[in-house]
Amino acid sequence: MAAHAKPLATLRTAAGLPSGLLAMWWLLASEIVIFGGLLVGYIIHRNGHPEWALEAANTNTTAGAINTFVLLSSSLSAVLAHQAAQTGNGPRAARLLWLTILGAITFLVVKSFEWTHEIQHGFVLTKSGFWSFYYCAAGLHALHVIAGSIAMGFVAWDAAKGKELQRVEYAGIYWHFVDLVWIFLFPLLYIAK
């Protein structure tokens, strides 16, 4: 099929916001309840199992802290990319998005070393309820990091050619959400011992 022109529906903005932005917020709303359900389940269990603190003592807080720093820094480059996109500087926005993706990759590399280490020491998924939640919640978050990186790759690809610059902002909003989830996960899984 030939390339489709966008339907009129896509171009209208009766709500006063671009539709893509609106959709991103609704997407995040649905994501919040997914992580919300998981974390509420975890907190309830954690309260019922004081002995999980002994398990949590085996998590690597340093690695977690490094990852927190990496992820938060990558949000800065996402904001700068948005700023560049607003001034119409597509190539700069693309470069900054690639920098954000680099942060995501660093995050995943640190995480994979951390998990390898933990699994080698016997802290596997089935060791106890704590580790089940640990891998489940952090794994779901890591999937979001991967998905976000892929999406940002596509957005950066277009932005470099000066196309669809509004999407830089949407990608940034999604990335902040991924950060925010980690801000909850880090104290709940690493710091609370």
């Binding site: 959709a23 997914i34 359900g37 998981l38 269990h45 939640f133």
Partner: protein, 596 residues
């Protein structure tokens, strides 16, 4: 759809250089389309196919209950494991693969762009993806019947530990496929739901304010929001359940520090709003139909909307009434009893507003109107019996009896079956450009309603007398067969089901007769209705409208005193008020001009 499908494309998109469509082959047109109307058809017919499977399962297990251990024509002998798989998948299919795709996805896709006056969904390709994910989920569910151990048999609520352990339910593979299928189906409706919400917010026709949006569109949007806000915890729960099933975790295993009641909370936090997710679109459709065929303004439009919002909000605070006997804190049970009784207030209000709309109207008992009225009447029975179950004291006795089964079928059959026929018969001329046969339609209606009530009224009684649900053969429970009338009532319910199922042959005959008939196109507005979809040709072509409409008034200006006609379409400019000529006919002429 038909030959008019491309007639108006030039007019709408001529300026952007894509003036004509190349001839699409059958596959691209019906399986790879981004047109909201085609996607609506895909959802609708997939949903109907799934309903046939769900109906067949119902036939099989009702025959087993009426005539335990006997040969079931068309099925064979039913084992207890197959019985459990049949009831489990009957429930799953009817809710997730029939009610959801038909009421929300099919009618949402069909109606939202047409009723708010735009040419498509705001994200057409995401819309296509939504259906494809849904189709994949349907295939996985059907495939689960053919794996080792058979389909999942742990009831549609999938309570652990039964659902979490293949050793308990003897269907390890089938259980995982069931959870995966349900999770994929949720993803499909999240994609679709975001599209519905954003389309309604962003893409309304010029002049359409918040209070000019037809009630059914509002209700589908509110339903989509409810779905989106409630399904997340269950998606997380589904991941945890799959881990429990396959990787040996113990989120829900009490032996190792897990908590099976956590699943119940996650499930019902979604499961109860889900009732309203499927209820609201059906409620909205009946509102449209009742206003059109009463020739009266929908009574108290804004109040109706507020009741919808109230229902949506309260629906998040009632879930634990499903768990009164699960060992939850009695103080919590009290709170949930109160919220459950409160939520019946806005729902009752909706029914009263529809009755008030009927009062003094020029009622026309067309087939869609009969379905619309039956929806309100039958749903009331479901709602009223819900009061007994929502009260924790009474529920301890009624819990998991056939009283519950009869209660929720009195809500879900009006929603899903009656709701489907109501919407399908009302918008049939819009979808296909032909009118269904009214006589066959009425016979079909009455036999279906008769059969439906014949199934479930007896089950209220067997339930009150102690019939527990999910029992394979009541012969094994002497206290449930010593009263001879109990088995007679079970047989009566099965006969009712046979009547209801065979009535659907009339529906098929009606479809075939209409498809074969050489009747003329009834024109864009056969019912003289006001909402924007009736300004588009029947069936609407690509881009929907010959001329994109502008909205000048609310959707229910019937029998307006300043106007000669008893209807006043939303898109008619105010200076046309005295025009005697129906606008629909004009649009029709235009459409004809285009064609020639």
């Amino acid at each position: 759809m038909s030959s008019t499908a491309t007639a108006h494309h030039d007019h709408d998109h001529g300026h952007d250089g894509h003036g004509h469509h190349e001839e699409q082959n059958f596959f691209l047109k019906y399986f790879w389309s981004t047109d909201h109307k085609i996607i609506a058809q895909q959802y609708m017919w997939t949903g109907i196919a799934m309903a046939l499977i769900g109906g067949f399962l119902a036939y099989a297990f009702r025959m087993q209950l009426a005539f335990p251990g006997k040969f079931i024509p068309g099925y064979g002998y039913m084992s207890s494991l197959e019985y459990n798989a049949a009831v489990t998948n009957h429930g799953t299919i009817m809710i997730f693969w029939f009610a959801m795709p038909v009421l929300i996805a099919a009618f949402g896709n069909l109606l939202i762009p047409l009723m708010i006056g735009c040419d498509d969904m705001v994200f057409p390709r995401i819309n296509r993806l939504s259906y494809q994910v849904f189709l994949l989920s349907s295939i996985i569910l059907i495939a689960s019947f053919f794996v080792e151990g058979g389909a999942f048999n742990g009831a549609w609520t999938a309570y652990p530990p039964l659902s979490a352990n293949g050793e308990y339910n003897m269907a390890g593979m089938g259980s995982t496929m069931w959870v995966v299928a349900v999770a994929l189906e949720f993803v499909a409706f999240l994609l679709g739901g975001i599209n519905f919400i954003v389309t309604t917010m962003s893409s309304r026709a010029p002049g359409m304010r918040m209070w000019d949006v037809p009630i059914v569109v509002w209700m589908i949007v509110v339903a989509s929001i409810l779905f989106m806000a409630s399904v997340g915890p269950l998606i997380a729960g589904a991941v945890m359940l799959v881990f429990d099933q396959n990787f040996g975790t113990f989120f829900f295993n009490p032996q190792r520090g897990g908590d099976p009641v956590l699943w119940q909370h996650l499930f019902w936090f979604f499961g109860h709003p889900e009732v309203y997710v499927v209820l609201l679109p059906a409620m909205g459709m009946s509102g449209e139909i009742i206003a059109t065929f009463s020739r009266k303004k929908l009574f108290a439009y804004k109040t109706l909307l507020y009741t919808v919002f109230a229902t949506g909000i309260i629906s998040f605070f009632v879930w634990a009434h499903h768990q009164f006997i699960a060992g939850i804190d009695p103080r919590m049970a009290n709170v949930f009893t109160v919220t459950t009784l409160i939520i019946s207030v806005p729902i009752a209000e909706m029914c009263f507003l529809y009755i008030a709309t009927l009062y003094g109207g020029a009622i026309r008992l067309t087939v869609p109107m009969l379905w619309g009225l039956a929806f309100v009447a039958e749903f009331l029975l479901g709602g009223v019996t819900g009061i007994f179950l929502g009260a924790s004291g009474a529920d301890i006795y009624f819990h998991d009896t056939y009283f519950v089964v009869a209660h929720f079928h009195y809500t879900f059959i009006p929603i899903a079956i009656i709701g489907f026929f109501m919407g399908f018969t009302y918008w049939f001329p819009k979808m296909y450009g032909k009118m269904l046969d009214e006589t066959i339609g009425k016979i079909h209606f009455w036999i279906t309603i008769l059969g439906f009530n014949m199934i479930f009224i007896p089950l209220f009684f067997t339930g009150m007398w102690g019939d527990h649900r999910r029992i394979y053969n009541y012969g094994h429970f002497p206290e449930l067969v010593k009263n001879e009338i109990m088995q007679d009532l079970r047989i009566m319910a099965t006969v009712g089901l046979l009547i209801m199922l065979s009535a659907q042959v009339l529906f098929v005959i009606n479809l075939i007769k209409t498809a074969m008939s050489k009747q003329e196109n009834p024109g864009p507005n056969p019912y003289k209705a006001n909402t924007l979809e009736w300004a588009a040709p029947s069936p609407p072509g690509h881009g929907n409208f010959a001329e994109m409409p502008t909205v000048y008034r609310g959707p229910y200006e019937y029998s307006h005193p300043d106007r000669e006609d008893d209807y006043w379409p939303q898109h008619l400019p105010p200076d046309d008020a005295s025009s005697k000529k129906a606008d629909g006919e004009k649009a029709d002429e235009k459409a004809d001009d285009k064609k020639h």
